[in-house]
């Protein structure tokens, strides 16, 4: 049912998304009332910058979760790709070539997850959990535990530049949003992902190449991890071997708050963007309001849970 309804009825989907917009608007309103610094141009750009990496990973995660899969390795892939990019850069490669190589590399190591999930018939949770551990280990071996710094100027610039007043990192996230939306909503591949997530057997009977879909969706997640890795490495002027730890959970939180079903077949990247923004605004506003650092974590978890419950209630009525 959700298969027929989701892609063909965007109006209904929009209505069911209202709950999330209301929560987001309420949060923004509350933050603006409590802090006069919140609704300023520079702070909104801060939020855009702070949300971008999570949003990038979350868009890939959305596609994976639509197939009823999960990708726990995004943070570890980000780390290994970031370190690889920094090392290539130090070796003197021109930045565009470095970027191209790591984007291909990211897609390939993502695809590897997909190959094992699809042909090895192992649960995505297990495959990507193992991948998380392996890539984290590879990163530590590559760096001996120390950050890689001394990046070229063009690498440093890519994540810290302004594009017509918008931070480049947010610009890239927006491009990724557009691309993800197009791929999921306007292509046979995207429809295939929804179909696969609704029912694998049905998708197979309908003649879809389920294995290929799985390989490509994890490759897509790996590609976006690579994009995030380039931007984060640039933003920090260095590749951190510990970068990205815990990012998989933030990305999953954004996807789930954004209304994508963990059992697959239902969801959208617009919802995910809202989910990521809700989390980003929350972090930013609590910092501006001087909420005790320990309480921040509790509040964040509570709001994630609350947003989900409220959204369920609004959708039911």
């Amino acid at each position: 049912m959700s298969l027929a309804q989701t892609p063909s009825n965007p109006v209904r989907l929009t209505i069911s998304r209202y709950g999330l917009w209301i929560i987001f608007a309420a949060l923004v309103l509350l933050a603006s009332l409590l802090s006069d610094r919140f609704l300023t141009g520079s702070n909104l750009l801060n939020i855009a910058r702070q949300t971008s990496v999570n949003a990038l990973l979350a868009f890939g995660m959305t596609a994976v979760i639509l197939t009823a899969g999960i990708d726990l390795s995004v943070g570890a892939m980000l780390a290994v790709i970031g370190v690889s990019a920094a090392l290539l850069d130090q070796a003197g490669l021109p930045f565009p070539l470095t970027a191209l190589l790591v984007l291909i590399g990211g897609s390939l190591i993502g695809a590897l997850n997909g190959v094992i999930v699809a042909y090895g018939r192992i649960a995505p949770f297990v495959v990507t959990l193992a991948a998380l551990t392996i890539w984290r280990g590879v990163t530590l071996v590559m760096t001996d535990g120390t950050p890689v710094s001394g990046l070229s100027a063009s690498f440093q610039n890519i994540g810290n530049a302004d594009w017509f007043g918008l931070p480049s990192i947010a610009g890239v996230a927006l491009l990724a949003l557009g691309l993800s939306w197009f791929l999921l909503r306007r292509t046979a591949w995207g429809r295939g992902l929804y179909a696969l997530g609704s029912s694998e057997d049905a998708a197979r009977f309908a003649g879809l190449n389920v294995e290929r879909l799985k390989v490509t969706v994890y490759a897509f997640s790996g590609l976006l991890s690579a994009v995030a890795a380039l931007l984060l490495t640039s933003r920090l002027y260095s590749a951190q071997p510990t970068a990205g730890s815990g990012f998989e959970l933030d990305a999953i939180a954004a996807v789930v708050v954004g209304g994508t079903s963990l059992s697959g077949g239902r969801g959208s990247v617009i919802g995910t963007l809202l989910g990521a923004l809700i989390i980003g605004v929350l972090n930013n506003a609590m910092n501006l309001l001087d909420v005790n650092a320990f309480y921040q974590q509790i509040v964040k978890g509570g709001v994630i849970l609350g947003a989900l419950l409220l959204e369920r209630l609004l959708n039911r009525s």
Binding site: T146, N160, T242, N287, D290, A293, F294
Partner: protein, 293 residues
């Protein structure tokens, strides 16, 4: 009229409050570690004493979160930003952003590899290493074979503690360093590295470990070997202090995190009061103490 008056009073009161209570931002690498909790408490006390408000943010050991935290502090227009960096390189863009916003930056405990920093407040690790070396010299009566267990090679703590320790050894020609091996600040490695050294060195009188974890590992190896060797550690973790009390470790060098926080805030207050920011980073070494039985 009355309404106007109260509004004016309110405005006056709020500007007066704003003038008398400057806000200082403190971005910590993590609060999931008693060391930094003590640092925060010392900073808080100094801020209260100095009539300032302190905003504390916890980066949870994530360089990217710290970048966001500092952006938020800049947005709040705090008077001074005190940073305990998760990483000395990753912090550079954040410090440059604060510089651009004309907010002075003070680093505490861990230094930054770039950007303009007014003060750097940190333990005097060189002095601490020297203190350990001199205590060993005193315990051994000035002669004997000693072993050094190094922390993660290249880390500033390992470098400085080692430099201080070796300077103390140089001043005592009868003390001979027979082995110096990295054990990466890790207890399990301290144990296995010490086991190997015990195999290769027939006479050892003392061990200096760059941190307590390695010292406790070494003490375990020594206990199983039934040899009598004194061990001195560094950091004064609760485990190590208990081991000193129980006679398993001879001593441990204690940092004073609360003092680091206090001195950081005091320098921030100086900047706020005088409006003067040093053009080149001024180092503020914080003394250490030796904990013995």
């Amino acid at each position: 009229m009355k309404k106007h008056l109260s509004l004016i009073l309110l405005a006056l009161a709020s500007t007066a409050a704003a003038q008398s209570r400057p806000v200082i931002g403190l971005s910590l690498s993590t609060l999931n570690n008693p060391f930094f909790v003590e640092l925060r408490d010392g900073a808080k006390k100094a801020a209260t004493a100095g009539g300032a408000d302190l905003v504390v943010l916890d980066a949870q050991d994530r360089a990217d979160k710290q970048a966001s935290d500092i952006e938020d502090l800049i947005t709040r227009k705090v008077k001074v930003i005190i940073v305990n960096a998760t990483d000395s390189d990753a912090i550079i863009p954040s410090i440059m952003a604060a510089n651009a916003a004309k907010i002075p930056v003070i680093t505490v405990d861990r230094s930054a590899n770039g950007g303009q920093v007014a003060y750097h407040v940190a333990s005097d690790n060189v002095a601490g290493g020297k203190m350990a070396g001199e205590y060993i010299k005193k315990l051994l009566g000035g002669k004997g074979n000693v072993v050094e267990l190094q922390g993660i090679p290249g880390s500033s703590a390992a470098r400085d503690r080692g430099a201080g320790f070796n300077a103390a050894l140089k001043a005592a020609p009868a003390l001979k360093r027979v082995a110096s091996q990295p054990a990466d600040f890790n207890r399990a490695k301290g144990l296995s590295v010490m086991e190997n050294i015990l195999q290769s060195q027939p006479t050892i009188a003392a061990v200096f470990a760059h941190n307590d974890e390695m010292a406790l590992g070494a003490a375990q190896a020594i206990a199983s070997s039934k040899r009598k060797i004194v061990v001195v550690g560094f950091d004064a973790t609760p485990d190590a202090v208990a081991a000193v009390r129980a006679g398993k470790l001879a001593a441990t060098v204690a940092q004073r995190p609360a003092d680091i926080g206090k001195l950081g805030v005091q320098r921030a207050l100086t900047i706020i009061k005088t409006g003067k920011v040093p053009a080149k980073t001024v180092n503020v070494p914080v003394p250490l103490t030796l904990i013995t039985k």
